[in-house]
């Protein structure tokens, strides 16, 4: 697959010297669903605005389809955006909002009618043509915003936390719908969110960002199973992060005990972060276990119980389908496969 967008050494620095993006390098493949994921202030929206053209990078180059597009204003880019708060035109009805981009480009009336009709059908808003956008629900406004962008047949659609304002059920429906639209139209979607579950559900590839750096790029499974550092591990799903060290390859020491693992390539006795997913910790009788602790709390989460276990040196979060009584001593074990070793460092760049 060919790259449609390349970001090369992008730096964004505000007038007060604050660096928002610190050397971003990113290739986005054509027809891919890419998600920028990170906490607020990590630079994900800034990166999106650079691709859209609302913001010029302080240094670095932006390429679209192999052409350098620095300085090209948004209205000359074949990219459309779905804005965070929709930004629908309040003086126009649903039909005219969707037709806006086509009217600007002086598309013949007959073609406008058919293309807007197609869009209305796609986002399931037939019969709402004459409705004022102020009298639509949040979900409907969202659909109009998506239709208004897609009717222009952009090569790339940018979406800036578009589902943030919707309730959970609607959000889940829209996630699936957006994914379906992306696959049907074979478009490149660049999606910004801080919701890791949303990112895992929809994306072909996820770009995890923090502090103006890209932390990791990979498929949802890669990011979840093989996080490159403690930040990614912690941000994508819940994790137990424990200080440890690597005496030698495939052996890790934490909480004063040695465990077998599968990672290698660290210098002897290097300090590392040990990341273990809550669902990978198995409860076993205390007398047989290397790791023990006292159950502090048990919360029923629907599919599983979430237990907090006090293991003296650190607390453990454990997801298990069986609950242990609060106050009881339990033993814990983790398979070597499920012990993830990561280099120590907070915001290391790739």
């Amino acid at each position: 697959m060919e790259n449609i967008i390349n970001l090369k050494d992008i730096v964004v620095e505000f007038e007060d010297g604050e660096k928002i993006l610190k050397n971003i390098n990113l290739d986005i493949k054509d027809k891919e669903f890419v998600t920028f994921l990170g906490p607020s202030g990590c630079g994900k929206t800034t990166t999106l605005r650079i691709i859209a053209g609302f913001l010029e990078p302080t240094s670095g180059d932006v390429f679209f389809d192999g052409q350098r597009i620095n300085g090209l204003p948004p209205h000359k880019r074949n990219i459309n955006t779905v804005f965070q708060r929709y930004a629908l035109f309040p003086h126009l009805n649903v039909y005219e909002n969707i037709a806006f981009g086509l009217r600007v480009k002086k598309v013949p009336e007959k073609e406008i009618v058919s293309r807007v009709g197609e869009m209305l059908e796609m986002v399931n808003l037939m019969g709402f043509e004459k409705r004022s956008v102020n009298r639509l629900s949040g979900g409907q406004q969202q659909r109009v915003a998506i239709a208004r962008a897609l009717v222009n047949h952009p090569k790339v659609l940018l979406l800036d936390e578009p589902l943030g304002a919707l309730d959970l059920k609607l959000r889940k429906e829209m996630q699936i719908e957006l994914r379906k639209i992306q696959q049907e139209l074979e478009l490149t979607f660049v999606y910004v969110t801080h919701d890791q579950e949303e990112a895992l559900t929809m994306s072909d590839s996820i770009v995890v960002m923090n502090n103006g750096y890209i932390q990791q790029i990979g498929s949802p499974t890669d990011i979840y199973n093989e996080p490159v550092n403690a930040f990614v591990a912690d941000f994508i799903g819940e994790s137990n992060i424990i200080n440890g060290s690597m005496p030698k390859d495939c052996v890790v020491e934490f909480t004063g005990k040695r465990f077998e693992c599968v990672d290698k390539g660290f210098s002897p006795n290097e300090a590392v972060d040990v990341v273990i997913r809550p669902e990978d910790v198995r409860i076993i009788p205390a007398e047989k276990a290397q790791l023990t602790g006292r159950v502090e709390s048990v919360v029923f989460k629907g599919v599983h119980y979430e237990m907090c276990v006090d293991g003296v040196d650190n607390k453990w979060i454990i997801h298990s389908t069986k609950a242990c009584p609060v106050g009881s001593m339990v033993g814990m074990t983790v398979d070597p496969d499920d012990i993830h070793i990561m280099k120590k460092s907070e915001d290391n760049a790739l």
């Binding site: 053209g53 609302f54 948004p74 955006t81 804005f83 930004a87 629908l88 600007v104 480009k105």
Partner: protein, 268 residues
């Protein structure tokens, strides 16, 4: 609701100071001195058609100039930093804190035959130019005095336009010029219509500005009405008839204006 009793003083006020005078004007316009019905005064108004035309024409020009000046000013103002907006607004309002007469007198000394402008022209070796007592001076006085009434409603509407709408327009292919025509102007329409109302209505009925800057040759409706009530031509019946006709004209113009405003928020 008990709350409606709070509006009672206002209702009394409206009846005493708005409804009663209005009825009196209508009564005076259609009666003679001895109280019998007549259409004479209303038909007499026709003699002053040229003054009506001049008044409407000059106020329309002044309103148009105000709109052209105020629109970019209000737009720039609405896009400034919040704290700068306060300072700039104060500068716009500043002339309004001075007495209306005083402001207009100031223009007399600037435009006069021996005024500041002609003085400077003479020094530079040019002939004096007649500036005062022209219709241009009247329009200038109107624009100067009523400009803030155009800027403020425009500013308050534009300030509420979400910045992301401009980005959305840009994103959907609009150049800055087409964003102006497709987004900014339609969304600021309520401000445009109320600004026009706020300038046009006082401009068409003014008499101080035309008296002081227009001399005797640029009589406006306001002067005509004043002459019927306070001047030598004393004739309250004719004055009432002229006022009534002027009111109907303004009402018609405002109704036409309303057609351009989707929300019909214009003050009548």
């Amino acid at each position: 609701m008990k709350l409606k009793y709070f509006s009672a003083p206002y209702l009394v006020w409206m009846v005493v100071f708005i409804v009663v005078p209005l009825i009196m004007i209508v009564y005076f316009a259609f009666t003679t001195d001895n109280g019998s019905f007549t259409m004479k005064y209303i038909s007499d108004v026709g003699q002053y058609a040229n003054i009506f035309v001049r008044s409407i024409w000059l106020s329309l020009i002044a309103t148009a100039i105000c709109l052209v000046i105020a629109y970019p000013v209000a737009f720039i103002l609405s896009r400034m930093d919040k704290h700068k907006q306060g300072t700039m607004l104060m500068i716009v309002m500043l002339p309004m804190w001075m007495n209306f007469l005083l402001r207009t007198y100031a223009w007399m000394t600037i435009l006069g035959n021996n005024g500041i402008i002609n003085h400077i022209l003479n020094i530079m070796g040019f002939e004096s130019v007649r500036l005062i007592n022209t219709s241009g001076a009247v329009v200038l006085g109107m624009v100067y005095n009523y400009l803030p009434f155009m800027i403020l409603p425009l500013y308050s509407v534009m300030e509420k336009i979400d910045k992301s709408l401009f980005e959305a327009a840009d994103d959907l292919g609009c150049s800055p010029v087409s964003t102006l025509f497709r987004v900014v102007i339609p969304l600021s329409m309520p401000g445009i219509t109320s600004g026009i109302t706020m300038v046009f209505v006082p401009a068409i009925s003014t008499f101080i500005i035309s008296r002081m800057l227009g001399g005797g040759s640029n009589l406006l409706i306001g002067d005509l009405i004043e002459m019927q009530f306070l001047g030598n031509a004393y004739n309250p019946h004719l004055g009432a008839a002229i006022s009534l006709v002027l009111m109907v004209i303004i009402l018609v113009i405002m109704t036409v204006m309303n057609q351009f405003d989707p929300d019909e928020q214009v003050l009548m």
